[in-house]
Symmetry: C2
Subunit: 373 residues, 2 copies
């Protein structure tokens, strides 16, 4: 059973196009139909080299410009929560398009397709070469991430002077991103019946010091390229206990460290070890379970500085980890900039303000039409 | 399909009888066959009033003695672990009977049956009236406990001047028992993405104070009737956490308080509240989830004092909670005294030293034959 291929009209305005994308459901792992439609539409433009990698669609101009800009957006959404098909509604005089994926991030994908329709046709004269990356499985575990797959299998496609991810940022440039790592601290003890607890060593009581260290931790604020990053060290899980009458012999605390991009992963881990040095000396063990480096904002790079000027609004630091770090790992400055509202992502009430769409398209057109830096 | 009723010869020696009881499997909930055999054997003696309550078997003399002694033992065992049928073995010159239920507590049941055979026949002249309680489901959750059922449905059968539970105590009198209660302390917080943790309140970090209080708690030692009780306050479980990138909004700590029998349940709970007063004032909540009062040793009661003299060994405090508290709730002094080894209960290697059986029977015979106090 195959659905008829949904057709995308890239000459439609950005709102119409957003709505069309939203109405093709594409929950992570189920992006094929939408990827097919995007691939067909891009091939139809006639001015782009197009390549398909699984359910990622790659397309680029080859105009020998001095700079190349990579625009990236994921096609997948979190699971639909009874919020499809899309609907337009007006709340307090504000027009909104409701539906799964509106803000995160089909509005951004629609802006990308509009730019492709303008600059990816024969005879177009963008000031910079353009690469479009539409990818799958961003909303699920990192190993499935389509951008990661492209980075492994078609790395050359990702090179450029600046990468812009059209993730929801409310129309503000968010520079770089913070790194994140997780460690599990295991406090040892010795089991005993709780009626004779002095024969044991209570591992949960032994966690008091680790929690006091966390409670008293003074997180750093770091300014980089004029943006302020704010770190955080948090227990995100604690568990311990055998039975209601047994002194626990183990307490496990999972700690998440969000670190500013002036630290690399090794430095971040060394810092965490230093913070818990007393506990580690006392027999607590530390295991790194997860680590992703951050990305420096790179806003002083010429291509990025021009983009900031084109948007005309002060950028801010990106605190969460995002796929910009995948570009940063190749030394490519990358930032987030999109029309969606990040606070609405993953909510049943997800929507996008319709008056945010055209300004995003216009800012990017201005940037890409301007003099080549 | 019904097994033939196993026959019990109560004239056999206590080791033979222990072995016979062990070889009739009676895992909790599956005691019927053994209870039938015990009931039949007791009825056959001719000097006892016998009543059956579910799979509990009650029997008593009615000789108008001035004092009445209740002897109680459970018939059930923990699940068999490949350790049946029983076998005799000699280790380092020490003869042992191996098998599930040997120590906990069919050796004790066998002693009870030997006493029934001696004092529960027409013409016997025990110095005290005797009540025997063989009951089911001691090794499982309290609501199924057969002694509790007898207390609810046939309370009159439990009255006496002293109750002796023949639980494994290695031939030493264990007086009274400590109480136990559990509370769940819930530390509140506010959820936030861990990349913006300052927007939340980390409930796990908030548990630092509670754990420090537990780690620093100085447990009381209390002497009652010459026995030393040792209290304990322990976290037996801790849990908190939503996801690897979320600041937890709740941390739950289950605390078990084992308290000496000079405190009743209300006083014990009030003490726990006082210990955590600072945390409670700061918004931590406390919920009582489980409470069982202790039992005073009552060794100064004449019937108990005579028993201590008959055994001729110094008694010690019972620290774990046991069914003696069910008697204590009716104002009946109760103690544990049995031939089994408590350290071997519930182990695959469970066994009983055969040289511990006859002395237990002899001490009880001496006590029950002596002058009525």
């Amino acid at each position: 059973m195959s659905d008829p291929l949904p057709e995308l009209d890239l000459t439609a305005d950005v709102l119409t196009l957003t709505r069309r994308l939203v109405d093709v459901p594409s929950v992570s792992g189920d992006e094929r139909s939408l990827a097919d439609a995007v691939e067909t539409a891009l091939r139809g433009l006639g001015g782009l080299e197009v390549e398909r990698v699984g359910d990622a669609v790659l397309a680029r101009t080859n105009l020998d410009r001095d700079t190349r800009i990579v625009l990236a957006g994921h096609l997948d959404t979190v699971p639909v929560a009874g919020n499809l098909p899309s609907r337009l509604d007006s709340v307090d005089g504000q027009e909104r398009l409701y539906g799964c994926g509106t803000s995160d991030m089909k509005a951004g994908d629609a802006v990308m397709l509009r730019l492709a329709a303008r600059f990816g046709v024969p005879g177009a004269e963008p000031a910079r070469d353009l690469t479009f990356v539409f990818y799958d499985n961003e909303e699920v575990e990192a190993v499935r991430n389509g951008l990661g797959r492209v980075a492994r299998e078609r790395r050359g496609w990702l090179y450029g002077d600046l990468a812009v991810l059209l993730e929801p940022t409310d129309g503000v440039i968010e520079g770089g991103c913070q790194g994140t790592l997780r460690v599990v601290l295991t406090v040892p003890g010795r089991r005993a019946h709780s009626a004779r607890s002095w024969l044991g060593v209570n591992a949960v009581h032994g966690a008091a010091g680790v929690l006091a260290t966390l409670a008293g931790y003074a997180a750093r604020e770091v300014e980089i390229d004029g943006l302020t990053y704010r770190e955080g060290l948090n227990a995100v899980r604690i568990e311990g206990g055998v039975a209601g009458n047994v002194v626990p012999d183990e307490c496990r605390i999972t700690v998440n460290f969000r670190f500013a991009p002036d630290r690399d992963e090794d430095q971040a881990l060394a810092h965490v070890r230093e913070v818990f040095a007393d506990a580690l000396a006392a027999g607590v063990t530390l295991e790194l379970t997860d680590s992703s480096g951050g990305a420096l904002p790179g806003l002083s790079e010429p291509a990025a500085a021009d983009f900031v000027a084109a948007v005309g609004q002060p950028p801010r630091a990106k605190l969460g980890w995002t796929d910009v770090a995948r570009f940063a790992a190749f030394g490519i400055p990358a930032l987030n900039y999109g029309p969606g509202d990040p606070n609405l992502a993953h909510t049943v009430d997800e929507h996008v303000r319709t008056d945010r769409l055209q300004p995003a398209e216009d800012a990017l057109i201005a940037y890409l039409s301007g003099s080549d830096a």
